[in-house]
């Protein structure tokens, strides 16, 4: 029996029966049934798949899918204070325009000649981020922050030939799960305590846990909980004294005003590009970067591609190529693990490059300053609410901060439900992830929050806590 397909579908030019007849004739076949000849009969499906009826026209398709998506309430219509690894930032129109260009959007693995655009935009992104981080080498981006961190740890393990990494205890639990899965087996992750008052790393515990088996010390600045740790220099020193590598994860949106970890001894810097021009996309806008100095022992360990600039046979023409493509990370001698490249998040790297080109040094400074001011203002407002500590951890913070509601007698779940009813997405509930914090929530404030938004939040909370 013959299964009927879909003739004259706009995506399938050769689904026209006449053309099919023509083509079949030219290749000496009688019907489409004679294709797939090598598949055994018992494996071939005898009827069409049982799938939902497709939309009959482009109009109906768009309308139908839009109707489903309209069941969402997006942060464009609400006031959002969620962060925790994905943050709401302003996306410049030029970023959208470039990232939606068909040439880049539908590009893939062309050569350095006919995909010159891809190579140059990614080289420029690498170079721009290198300036932000004050480092020399940046990878073509990987999936997200935890992937970048996990890869950095594997790199450190290969360089030092050691198998244990010390990880700051404030790393988000989901991030830790991803890092664990990627590092196992090969690199054992051991958590280092944090000071419960300040949220900073407990250096006593670090000194206790570090050993000759430590390949790296990993911490984040700001941390998952928003805390800025000013012990960076000492942490790097402790790592280096013990022959370990200092790996620091950062939020690049902070580096217009905050010190990049290269200023306090970091050997490998990693983090997420999402704040630099990426829409949140329900978590799909994440993109991980890894950066080091231009030292052979580091460059050799990148499992990502590194694009470099080269001359061509024509004077004055910029060309590109892969730096150190045959490096040992693709098959380090003793490590059974070859890391590997493939499709990751190239377009997001390009977008980050556009973003940094637009903002420039002044824009990045304005961004950082704005976020610091707004966070401070929000903390001030919330601390005025009865039973609320606007910033539980006694340290400077950037963008995110732990708001302690324990004194209110209400749960975060309750509070967030009531906030939702008022069109506000409250901060992430930390009560399960960090039980020692009780009913606390992680609030995120960025440049998208105007004063009136913060006032609205304070007012809503005031009403909720009262009632």
């Amino acid at each position: 029996m013959t299964i009927t397909g879909y003739k004259n579908h706009p995506y399938i030019p050769n689904s026209d029966p006449k053309i099919q007849e023509e083509m079949l004739k030219e290749i000496g076949l009688k019907s489409l049934d004679e294709l797939h000849g090598e598949i055994p009969e018992e494996l071939k499906l005898k009827e069409l798949l049982d799938l939902p009826q497709p939309y009959g026209s482009e109009y109906e398709l768009k309308r139908g899918v839009d109707e489903i998506m309209n069941k969402n309430m997006s942060t464009a219509e609400t006031l959002n204070f969620l962060g925790a690894g994905c943050w709401q930032h302003f996306v410049p129109a030029v970023c959208d325009e470039i990232s939606r260009r068909a040439e880049l959007l539908t590009g893939y693995a062309g050569e350095v000649y006919n995909d010159h655009g891809r190579f140059q935009t990614l080289f420029e992104y690498e170079s721009l981020l290198a300036e932000l981080l004050d480092m020399d080498v940046v990878n073509v981006p990987t999936f997200d922050w935890p992937q970048a961190a996990a890869t950095s740890l594997r790199m450190a393990s290969r360089i030092t030939k050691r198998g244990e990494a010390l990880v700051a205890g404030t790393v988000g639990r989901d991030r830790l799960l991803i890092m664990k899965n990627y590092c196992d087996p090969g690199v054992k992750l051991v958590l280092v305590d944090y000071d419960k008052t300040t949220g900073k790393m407990d250096l006593k515990d670090l000194k206790k846990k570090i050993s000759n088996d430590t390949c790296a010390v990993y911490f984040e600045n700001p941390s998952y909980l928003g805390v800025l740790d000013d012990q960076g220099e000492e942490i790097s020193q402790i790592a280096h004294t013990n022959g370990a590598i200092s790996v620091v994860g950062v939020d690049p949106s902070s580096l217009g005003v905050l010190a990049p970890p290269s200023e306090y001894g970091a050997d490998i810097i990693c983090g997420d590009l999402q704040p630099l021009g990426m829409h949140m996309n329900y978590g799909g806008g994440q993109s991980g970067f890894i950066s080091t100095r231009n030292e052979e022992r580091f460059v050799e360990e990148y499992p990502s591609r590194l694009f470099g600039v080269v001359p061509t046979i024509v004077e004055g023409e910029y060309g590109f190529g892969d730096v150190a493509y045959e490096r040992t990370s693709f098959g380090n001698l003793r490590e059974k693990g070859k890391e590997y490249v493939g499709t990751q998040t190239a377009l997001l790297g390009i977008t980050a490059g556009v973003y940094l080109s637009l903002l420039g040094p002044k824009g990045m400074e304005e961004l950082g300053r704005n976020i610091l001011q707004k966070s401070a203002y929000a903390i001030g407002l919330l601390s005025k609410l009865p039973g609320v500590n606007g910033c539980r951890l006694a340290s400077p913070v950037f963008k995110e901060f732990v708001v302690d509601f324990n004194g209110t007698g209400k749960t975060i779940k309750e509070i967030n439900e009531k906030l939702l009813a008022r069109g506000i997405f409250g901060g992430k509930d930390l009560s399960e992830e960090f039980p020692e914090m009780g009913q606390s929530a992680l609030y995120c404030v960025t440049e998208v929050h105007l004063k009136k938004d913060l006032d609205k939040l304070a007012q809503a909370l005031e009403e909720i806590l009262r009632g």
């Binding site: 693995a109 050569e111 591609r305 493509y325 693709f330 098959g331 003793r334 590997y340």
Partner: protein
């Protein structure tokens, strides 16, 4: 200005046989036959193709070469600066392999950057005799079918590789096999090859623009990984008989020992206990049940054990047993078999058949490939 010294040895009679249906021209008798059939030397024209690639560097090079048709004529006509380091007694048609060897030795004394040579497998063997693995060499193919991978694929490519090497100076080098060919058997239509020695050549990996997926390790790194895996899994008090080849040699390098590339060495408890053994010596050392034989294909055509491996006799193989044979090879080498099985030829049919089958060939640290081994 200090010019870069480049050796050039042209074997003017190589390749003559092919055009008139003879295989090879080693030996004065065969050469005479070839000339009788009307063969004319064409090595010059092909070497010219290669040297044309070096013209952009002409001002920086000084050729060390051999008189008249063995290189001088070509250098002069192409405008290269040159020096004749050897004048054979009978230059021209009757130059012999001894002339090649003398010329090479003389050149080596001047420390040239690379010695280019044109000829066939025989010429490569002559160079090996004279030079060993010291100086860098590169073959320009002009003979009939060449088995030794010390030659580039075409004269044109040889020239390009030489030019890139001399201009950039940072190309990798590696040891390549010099193949011994039984010329008499060849004339009877039988191709018997074996490993003769090694020469060091410059090389450039086939460079792929498209890098969506990682390239495999370079040969050297792959061999290092294989050796490390073996070393890490060596058992105490077990005798390891290490066969010829660069892949197996990497084990000795890894242990910090100096073995023999073309010979059979023996290792136990991480130390080299016997070097370059003959069959008799091996018989003294091999203990049934406590011996592993470590082999890698060599000598062209993928022979694991072939006519050149007299030392590893059927008796020794019987004592070792098939299950104690460990085969190593880089993935690259196995790929280039293009589906042909690896081969065994010991001369004893029963032994050969007993060793046939699928082997798990170690190709890296923790990676292996199932490879068929057949009778050669």
């Amino acid at each position: 200005m200090n010019r870069i010294k480049v050796g050039l040895i042209v074997n003017p009679i190589a390749g003559m046989g092919g055009k008139v249906g003879l295989k090879g021209t080693d030996g004065v008798k065969i050469l005479a036959e070839a000339m009788k059939r009307g063969a004319a030397p064409n090595a010059s024209a092909l070497v010219r193709q290669a040297l044309e690639e070096l013209i952009p560097l002409r001002d920086q090079l000084l050729f060390l070469t051999v008189a008249e048709t063995m290189g001088e004529t070509l250098c002069r006509s192409m405008g290269f600066e040159f020096q004749v380091v050897h004048r054979p007694h009978n230059v021209g048609w009757e130059t012999t392999s001894q002339d090649t060897r003398i010329a090479a030795s003389e050149m080596a004394k001047e420390n040239p950057a690379v010695i280019l040579f044109a000829g066939g497998d025989g010429t490569a063997r002559d160079l090996y005799e004279a030079l060993g693995q010291g100086p860098l060499v590169l073959g320009i193919p002009t003979g009939v079918k060449i088995h030794s991978p010390v030659y580039a694929n075409t004269p044109h490519q040889a020239g390009q590789l030489a030019r890139d090497f001399l201009a950039q100076g940072n190309l990798s080098t590696k040891l390549e096999e010099v193949i011994d060919l039984d010329e008499e058997a060849l004339r009877q239509g039988k191709v018997y090859t074996s490993l003769y020695g090694y020469l060091r050549v410059p090389y450039k990996r086939e460079y792929l623009q498209n890098k969506k997926a990682p390239t495999p390790l370079s040969d050297k790194e792959a061999q290092g990984a294989i050796a490390l895996y073996l070393i890490d899994h060596m058992e105490k008090d077990i005798i390891y008989v290490i066969g010829p080849g660069t892949t197996t040699q990497a084990i000795l390098d890894g242990l910090g020992e100096a073995g023999t590339l073309v010979g059979v060495d023996v290792v136990c408890n991480g130390e080299l206990i016997r070097k370059d053994c003959g069959e008799r010596e091996l018989l003294e050392v091999v203990a049934p049940g406590k011996t592993r034989l470590v082999l890698t294909p060599t000598g062209g055509q993928g022979f694991l054990l072939g006519r050149g491996n007299q030392q590893i006799s059927p008796e020794i193989l019987k004592m070792v047993g098939k299950e104690n044979i460990i085969v190593l090879a880089t993935e690259d080498k196995l790929i280039k078999q293009y589906g042909r099985p690896l081969l065994i030829f010991t001369g004893d049919e029963k032994t050969d058949l007993a060793l046939k089958g699928y082997y798990r060939v170690i190709t890296g640290y923790g990676s292996s490939m199932m490879v068929p081994v057949s009778v050669g």
